[in-house]
Structure formats: C-alpha cells, structure tokens
C-alpha cells in the first residue's frame, strides 16, 4: 500500500501551552528561560516577544534591555518531550501510528486513514482546526515520505501543504536546503556556494555531491524523494487496566455480584499474568440503575495476579456493596500496578512461602483496617523511640544491625514519671514510687547515657538504668537531665522479662 505521512509543526509549543494554562498571558510578550553556562538564556519566546526581536538563544539581560517589563518563566528541561508525547497520544484518534518528533513536531503515519475524514484535505484541516482551537499555532503537511512532509510543514509555501502521490521531487524543488534536515556544516557549505534552493543541486551527480558534502546530504535527499526507506518509532499508548461487565438485567443479589466480580477479576488477572504484573490496589465499581456508583476498594501488600486471592479480599467487603435496585454495569480498575516478584520455586519449604504469608496479611488488613500490620527494621538512632522503623514490604531486609544494648521487651509508649530516692547523683535509685507503690531496688546496671540527637530535637540527655526489685521484676528507668543543672526528673520507660 502506498505510504502517506503527515508532519505537524508546533511553531511555539511551550509558550502556547503556557498561554493555554494562563489565559491572562495572551497578547503579552513573555519568555521561557533557563540557566546555561552561568547565564540565563531565553529558551522560547512568545509571538509578541518574537515580534520585539527577542529570539531563543538571547541572554536574559539583553532581552530585558529590549523590553524591561518582560515576563520571565523558568523552562523545565523535559517539558517539551512530555508535551509532545501527550500530543502524540492525542493524535491516536487520527491514526494508530503517531510519534513525537523532537524538538517541536509530531509525525503521523496516515496511510489508509484520511478517507475516513473524506480526503486528505479535510483530514488535514480537521487536525489543524482542532489544534488551533486548543490554542496551538501549528502547520502541517502530508507527503509520501517523512522527509518531504517535514520539509513542507516547516518551509512550504502557504498554498500547498499536500504533496501529491509520487510528486515529492516537484514539491521540494522550491524549498531552501535547510528543509532537508541537514547538519549545520553542510548547510554552511551549501550557503557558501550559493545554493539557495533544493532545485539548484537536486539534479547534480551524486559523486560530486558526496565529494563536497558527504553522505549525509545524499541520504537526506534520497529519504525526502522516497528512494531510501526511513523508519519511525510510533508510541505505544498505555491501555488502562480496566475490565467492564455490562448486564442485561440489573443485578441485586450478593451471589450475582460475586459472579460478576469473578468474571472481571479473571479477565484482568489473565492480562496481568501475561505481562508479569500484579495488582497493589484495585477498585470495583457498580453503576446502579438509580444513577449512583457504588464501589469497594482493596489493597495488597505485594503485587498479586491470583484471582482467587484477590476475590477473597473483595469478598470480605461485598456486604458493603449496596446494589439497591440493581447494578447495570460493573467495572474493575487496577489503580496501582506493579511487577510481580516471581521467586524460584523451592523444592522444600523450610521457612514457608512468603507469598502465602503476604496473602494472609492482605486478608487480615482488609478485615481489620489499614496501618495495623507492622514489621520493624532497625534504624541508626540510639534514642529508643526512634531506633525502629516500619518496613515497607515483607522482603525488605535491615540495612543496619540491631542494637546490642539491653532493651526492655515491654516499652511504655510514654515514659511514666516516678519519684525516686537516690543516694548520690550518678547512682541508681534505692527505691522508687510508681503508681502509688514503693518498689525497693536490689540490683542495678547502668547508667547508659543516650544524648538527644540535636539535629532532630534538642533536650537534655537520658541516663538509663536497668534495675531489679527484691521480687525479681526488672525495670528500665531513666533520669532526664543532669544534677547540678536544675532538678532532673526520673521516669519509668519499660519492663524487662
């Protein structure tokens, strides 16, 4: 089939976008600038700024000299590519093959698409109309080759943007050599020899051209007229992880909902399994016949594409799903998708399969609520309250070692104040009073001084003592502050076994 390509050129891509975002900038001169080699350089100028003579590449100081009240915005480096990618995604409605063409264009393979709009002319004007109502100033051209479409879009005269089939050469003749996407030194050479139009050198023998300008020029010429193939890489739009199930009759029974859920889950899991991905978060929605959407949501501790497990998680929440008069449409959407960690199958399970443990924890979490399951890892802090952190997943391993110093198995969440009798400043207490009971200390270890971490919080240090009473019960006490520096206070912080 005959190939047809379309090239779209956004003349002021980033500035147009800013005007769309902030309509108050319309009609004002402004620029996008970013630092470059120690000075701020204009990256893009609005139409009004261009009219004032502020071109990309000018230093900001020079631009300010031209127009002192110029609005300056910072230019994000990958904004252009992101924007082009989204525009290419948008163009999927016109053709299945679209690609961003950096720095400021799009490339569409429109072979066999334009007749749906009633011819290439209508197709072209439709795209141009929609893009310009959005607020972008664009030019576009259609040709047999990528090179010719590119050239016509940027340097074509205002009348014909559509090169007829097999007539690329004719369309290119009147264009300047820069339209062939040549390198700067080749362009310079052509300029020096007075070649202002492609027609002046297109018929020259290739040996002559190669000798003077290298292979680059010949390749670009061949690509433009269609003697040489040129490839482009179309974007692959992401298909959302969503499954739908419309119902002929409204569903209102729990069993019916379960069947619908199983149905969509199996389809989604099949796709996820093929891609080696799993669900971390999913939402199951039902559109009721009274127009209200009901939903239930689940989360998993690690990505899973096991429909049986996911169904069991949803099953716990089905009583919350109120179908009222009936549900017409069920949708299952994966909100968070991650790669599934596939561990090598072990022949003998000594320690149990972590995936099974993760499934159990998911079930428990769905039942008892979030943030109630914790696994702790050590943190490099001596302050007891800060010495642990919750692990993010079941596979996370500690990055530092656990403290070796004695720590109480039963730590009070808030230290409780106690009254003590201390013989000498640095000694452990002889007895202390806790909750109205006097406890006689028979043995003691310590002190272990833990300083407050000044970069996090300021405060006096704690001197910890492990003490044992006459019955053998052990306590973890600390003195906050030092003697001779105000009156230190004593606290009970935990119990040792």
């Amino acid at each position: 089939m005959h190939k047809r390509f379309m090239s779209i050129w956004f003349c002021h891509l980033t500035t147009d976008r800013l005007v769309i975002r902030r309509p108050e900038l319309r009609g004002k001169p402004f620029i996008l600038a970013s630092p470059q080699r120690g000075r701020t350089v204009v990256q893009a100028s609005s139409r009004e700024a261009l009219a004032l003579g502020i071109y990309p590449g000018t230093a900001l100081a020079d631009a300010r000299a031209i127009y002192p009240t110029l609005d300056v915005f910072s230019d994000k480096p990958n904004l252009r590519d992101k924007l082009l990618y989204h525009l290419a995604e948008w163009c999927i409605r016109y053709t299945p093959l679209a690609a961003p063409d950096s720095p400021s264009g799009l490339l569409l393979d429109i072979s066999g698409c334009s007749h749906l709009w009633g011819g290439e002319k209508a197709y072209l004007s439709d795209i141009l109309a929609v893009l310009s109502t959005k607020g972008y100033r664009v030019r576009a051209a259609i040709a047999d080759t990528i090179g010719a479409a590119w050239a016509l879009a940027r340097y074509g005269s205002n009348s014909d943007f559509i090169a007829k089939e097999g007539k690329q050469r004719e369309a290119l003749l009147s264009l300047p050599p820069i339209a062939l996407r040549l390198e700067a030194n080749v362009l310079e050479g052509l300029e020096k020899l007075g070649f202002r139009q492609i027609s002046q050198f297109i018929d020259m023998p290739s040996a002559t051209l190669r000798r003077r300008f290298g292979d680059g020029l010949l390749l670009r010429l061949a690509q433009a007229v269609g003697r040489e193939e040129e490839t482009f890489k179309p974007i692959q739009p992401k298909i959302p992880y969503e499954e739908q199930l419309p119902c002929l009759e409204p569903i209102s029974t729990a069993k019916g909902i379960e069947i619908a859920l199983r149905h969509v889950l199996e389809r989604l899991c099949l796709r996820l399994a093929r891609e080696g991905r799993g669900l971390r978060k999913a939402i199951f929605r039902g559109l009721r016949i009274d127009g209200i959407t009901v939903k239930i949501e689940i989360g998993t501790g690690r990505a899973s594409n096991n429909p049986e497990h996911l169904f069991r998680l949803f099953e716990l929440k089905i009583p919350l799903f109120e179908p009222a008069l009936g549900v017409e449409l069920f949708t299952l959407e994966g909100l968070l998708i991650e790669k599934v960690k596939t561990a090598q199958e072990q022949l003998w399970h000594r320690s149990g399969d972590p995936a099974v443990v993760a499934e159990l924890l998911d079930r428990v979490e769905t039942k008892i609520g979030p943030n109630r399951i914790h696994r702790y890892l050590p943190q490099e802090h001596h302050w007891p309250e800060r010495s642990i952190r919750a692990a993010q997943s079941l596979d996370e391993e500690p990055t530092t070692i656990w403290p070796e110093k004695p720590r109480p198995l039963h730590l009070l969440p808030d230290p409780e104040p106690i009254e003590v009798m201390v013989p000498l400043p640095d000694y452990p207490p002889l007895h202390f009073r806790h909750q109205g009971k006097v406890i006689q200390v028979s043995k003691a270890d310590g002190p272990e001084r833990i300083e407050q971490e000044w970069w996090l919080e300021t405060g006096p240090p704690r001197d910890y003592y492990c003490v044992e009473d006459t019955s053998g019960a052990r306590y973890w006490l600390f003195r906050l502050g030092l003697y001779g520096n105000g009156q230190p206070r004593w606290f009970l912080h935990g119990f040792f076994p």
């Binding site: 149990g352 159990l360 924890l361 730590l411 003691a444 040792f496």
Partner: protein, 247 residues
C-alpha cells in the same frame, strides 16, 4: 543382640501408638526439624519433647509477670524461628518492643506485629493465622477465651501444624481450655555471678500448671547463652496442690 534391638523398636512403636491413642500428635511432619530445647523442663512432656503444632496457654497477672511471659514466649519463638520463616504477634494493646527480641534469639524482622482493635478481631486474626501453614508460630495476646473458641484454634493448628502461643493477661476466669499446656511465668531475683555487680541473667519461676499426657511441675530457670538453664544452688519452690490441675 538382634532380639534386644527388636524389643526396643517394638517398645518405641508401642509408646507411639499409646500416645496417638491418647490424642497427642507427634512432632514429626513436613517441618519436623524445628525443636524447642527446654532443658530439665522437657521431662514433663510426653515423649520428653516439647509439643509443637498445638496451642500453649500462658497466664499472667502483674505487669512484671506479663513481661516475663513475653520473654519466655520470645525465647521459644527464637528457637522455632532459627531456620527462618515468619511469625505473627497479634494483640490489641501491644507493648512489645522489637529490638529487645534479639536477646532471646529472635531476629526482630521475622516477627510481624498485628495490632487489632478488639478481642474479637484478635481471635479472628489468630484463627486465620493459625490456618496458614507458611507461618512458623503465632503469638496472640488475649484476655478472655472460652472453650469453644479454644477448640476452634486447636482445630486450626491440627490442620496447619503451626504452633500457637496464647498469652492471657489478667483473665477473669481460669476454666479448662482445649490447649495442650497452661503455663505461668513469674520473675525471681537473679543470681549475678560471684563478686560481680549489677544484674544477672533473666531468671524465671516457670510453672507448668497443666499439660496433656504429661506431668505438671515447677522449675526455676535462667536464660543464658541462648538456652534455658536450671538455676543452681537453690531449691525449687513446690507449687501448692490446689493450683495444680491435671488435664
């Protein structure tokens, strides 16, 4: 010589048969390489081995007893988790501080703490966890438990071969449960080594109040060098007759 070997084998088989008739499950299974070494306390159990894949009940009344019980359970957990795997620690008012578990041979990251809101949820979570054969052990902190609920937990462990530890702090009543053992751990004054200042090793008075097919008893044990050692140089305190219950 051959005859004696045969006789020993037959005796061993007979003992096993009797134990099976009495309702105890031998420890051997898919994960039979776990073992809990309890020193002299092992004599109290049938076949001189600490029974796994059953529920163990622990009773405590005071805060220091609760801490000692946690320590004792952690020590057993440490022996079970030595070969890797995970265990769950379920409670509705948890105070266990993970770094302290290291003293009892437990790598704290092998323990997953589940903090639930109500006793009902503790039971539900405990039952689900005991059914999950990928776990090694489950510790549940509960206050009340009736016979029917304990039977459900027992059924769960029989199926999955997980070991359950139920810690009951200040229970209202001490009725019979479908648990294999009932323990009471209380702290006693430690014995530091001669001439050394400070605290000695953790020392407990371990009372085994009930044990199925075994003989209850009381021991004074010291936890040192990652093992249970009998406290030397002291006479064990005999427990009162009425506190002793035979299952």
């Amino acid at each position: 010589m051959e005859l004696t070997c045969e006789k020993i084998d037959r005796l061993r088989q007979l003992r096993k048969d009797v134990m099976a008739l009495e309702g105890s499950i031998p420890n051997k299974g898919t994960r039979g390489d776990f073992s809990v070494k309890l020193g002299p306390m092992e004599a109290a159990f049938p076949g001189r081995t600490f029974p796994l894949s059953v529920n163990h009940e622990f009773i405590s009344t005071t805060a220091s007893e609760a801490a000692s019980t946690q320590g004792f359970v952690a020590a057993m957990l440490g022996m079970l988790l030595r070969k890797g795997g995970y265990s769950l620690w379920i409670g509705n008012s948890r105070k266990a501080f993970p770094p302290a578990l290291g003293l009892f041979g437990v790598t704290p990251q092998q323990v997953i703490f589940v903090d639930v809101k109500s006793e009902r949820d503790v039971l539900w979570t405990m039952e689900q966890a005991l059914k999950c054969n990928a776990l090694v052990a489950v510790v549940g902190e509960l206050r009340e438990l009736d016979f029917a609920q304990s039977q459900r937990l027992q059924l769960a462990v029989e199926h999955s071969r997980v070991t359950g530890f139920i810690h009951r702090h200040q229970p209202r009543s001490l009725h019979a449960l479908a648990c294999n053992t009932r323990w009471k751990i209380s702290p006693i004054a430690s014995q530091p080594e001669e001439g050394m200042p400070g605290l000695g090793f953790p020392t407990w008075n371990v009372e085994l109040l009930k044990v199925r097919n075994g003989r209850p008893g009381a021991w004074q044990m010291e936890w040192k060098e990652q093992g249970f050692w009998p406290l030397s140089g002291r006479k064990p305190i005999p427990i009162k007759k009425e506190e002793r219950q035979y299952a």
